[in-house]
Amino acid sequence: MKEVVYLSELEKIARLSKLGFSAEELQSFLRDINDIVAHFEKLNQLDLQDVSSTSHLGGGEPPFFSDEPQAWEGSEEVLKGAPWVAGGYFIVPRIVDKEEKENEDRRI
């Protein structure tokens, strides 16, 4: 089977997708993706130069809402399912990267 997707590219795609793989898993996925992508080559048999693309099936203008505030009482229900909430905020791990943090720590 001709390899169309290389390991380095798969690693990049995995990073973009925020998915982690072991070396063994990467090799297995590499085989799977190349197997599937090989089938996609079939679409090259078609002359698509003058064909328009269909990205969605709905016709007409998208619906609009009036720009007026509406009361919504659902916050408590929505926040109930969150892993970590405090003061009405979703709490997540530190966003500042490690190097910035080390620099910050050095300044303090």
Partner: protein, 492 residues
């Protein structure tokens, strides 16, 4: 009353029983809960049985019997587990949402409840609707009630199995590339995929937003009509929902007009890839229509052979975007990490199964710089060609008839060397999904106890003609409704 007495019931029959007070909602729910208890260790159609709340609701209805009963009053309904149901789990068959309890109802669930239905429980499915067997469910597969060694199909396998086994009178599923129709075919029941935009997607967990449609899985075509009347119609919360009122059975033509319908038979759907017996059963059904004076017309859908590839690019690309929301921040699984990026990686790596990861990778690859034109743009153009094929064919006829699947339900755990081969299970359901057309599967016969699904495809928003022909064909075929004994091996 006993469950076997409901074998040939329609929703109207339950409604009459309740109207005449020959049964109470509480008695009715108890009968189905008992059937679920009898069958579930063999079938595993349900991920969550809403026993306590369903009984409370049934009890309340029994104590407050209205003068005039809404159309689904007291009717138990099973819901596929990717459709949000307030206060109940909505797991999508995934570890990522294993403990997620939805804070709201999907529009389709709201409408069922407003019509008086009682939610019986949530049914098993392939993880995030990616699959055609329920084997991709994190929580174990569902077994086909007609042969417990085999798959019920997917991704709405739990819904189809529950209806086949009469654990539920009817169910909702979702169909992206065939996930209502294929399991309906494998389980010998009716599955309807409405026109894209006919039924609101608000509250249906997104897989591929330009393809997803919720639809009914029922024992009779009549019931698919009843459910469609309830769940269809515009909804301002779904911007892709067509601005039409709900479907009405008044749109179904008279039998006299149905007889005048021209049925198109696309030659590409009767190739060597179809199992011989399946092709024969479809031809027998077509023969019955011809015998009644219906004109059959051979048509061609020349780009059928490219639809599968186009679909998997489009669906994977949209899925990779839709599933980016599962990051551990606001709901669902969270796996802690050293920092935010780490948390994203750990959560998504642990939360998603192999097939989901595969499709996210495929989708991200198709959309990535340097590949967008090669794959995604190309597939959107092929989608245009597939749509035009149907437009042209439907100028020569009113409806199309094809097999629903190329093969019979396969054995659970059946290994396949070629990964892509499993994707070809949906080869006959994918094209009409790409084109956004309404399509229905109904059983047209059995071979060795296994059902054969016949698919009817209609023009956009022409569910009336489609359901009219399906009703009539169902009557002509006069097949027994499934009521499997739920033994090991073949149950019908």
């Amino acid at each position: 009353m006993k469950i076997e007495e409901f074998k040939d019931f329609t929703i109207q029959d339950y409604h009459h029983l309740l109207e005449e007070k020959k049964i109470s909602p509480l008695e009715l729910i108890d009968i189905f809960l008992e059937r679920i208890e009898e069958g579930e260790d063999k079938i595993h159609a349900f991920l969550f049985v809403n026993e306590e709340k369903a009984k409370n609701e049934a009890r309340e209805k029994t104590d407050n019997w209205p003068e005039e009963l809404p159309p689904l009053w007291g009717l138990p309904v099973a819901i596929k587990d990717n459709i949000c149901t307030q206060g109940m789990p909505t797991t999508c068959g995934s570890k990522m949402l294993e403990n997620f309890v939805s804070p709201y109802d999907a529009t389709v669930v709201e409408r069922l409840k407003a019509a008086g239905a009682i939610i019986l429980g949530k049914t098993n499915m392939d993880e995030f609707a990616m699959g055609s067997s329920t084997e991709n469910s994190t929580f174990g597969p569902t077994h086909n009630p007609l042969d417990l060694r085999r798959t019920p199909g997917g991704s709405s396998g739990g819904s189809a199995a529950s209806v086949c086994a009469l654990e539920a009178p009817c169910a909702l599923g979702s169909d992206t590339g065939g996930s209502v129709r294929q399991p309906a075919a494998f389980c010998g029941v009716v599955g309807l995929r409405p026109t894209y935009g006919r039924v609101p997607r608000y509250g249906v967990v997104g897989l591929a937003s330009s393809l997803d449609q919720a639809g009914p899985i029922t024992r009779k075509v009549e019931d698919a009509i009843t459910i469609l009347e309830v769940i269809s119609g515009k909804d301002s919360r779904d911007s892709t929902c067509a601005p039409y009122p709900p479907f009405s059975r008044n749109e179904i033509p008279s039998l006299e007009d149905i007889r005048k319908i021209k049925v198109g038979v696309p030659r590409e759907y009767f190739s060597s890839r179809v199992e011989k017996v399946i092709g024969e059963k479809i031809q027998e059904a077509l023969g019955k229509l011809k015998g009644e004076g219906v004109e059959l017309v051979e048509v061609s859908l020349p780009h059928t052979d490219y639809a599968l590839e186009a679909y998997y690019i489009v669906a994977s690309a949209e899925a990779s975007s839709n599933l980016a929301r599962y990051d551990g921040v606001m709901y669902g699984l969270r796996v802690e990490g050293e920092d935010l990026q780490d948390m994203y990686f750990e959560t998504r790596t642990l939360g998603f199964g192999k097939e989901v990861k595969r499709r996210i990778i495929l989708g991200t690859y198709s959309l990535s710089s340097g590949h967008y034109d090669e794959y995604y743009l190309k597939s959107m153009k092929v989608r245009t060609l597939v749509r035009k094929d149907f437009e042209e064919a439907l100028k020569q006829c009113n409806l199309l008839i094809t097999p629903t699947t190329p093969s019979f339900p396969f054995f659970l755990g059946e290994e396949t060397q070629d990964l892509y081969e499993r994707y070809t299970d949906d080869i006959f359901t994918i094209p009409s999904a790409l084109a956004g057309l309404p399509s229905l599967s109904l059983n047209c016969g059995y071979e060795g106890g296994l059902p054969v699904g016949l698919q009817i495809i209609g023009g956009p928003f022409e569910e009336g003609k489609l359901l009219g022909l399906a009703l009539w064909l169902e009557k002509l075929l006069a097949l027994p409704s499934p009521f499997p004994e739920l033994k090991e091996g073949r149950g019908q």
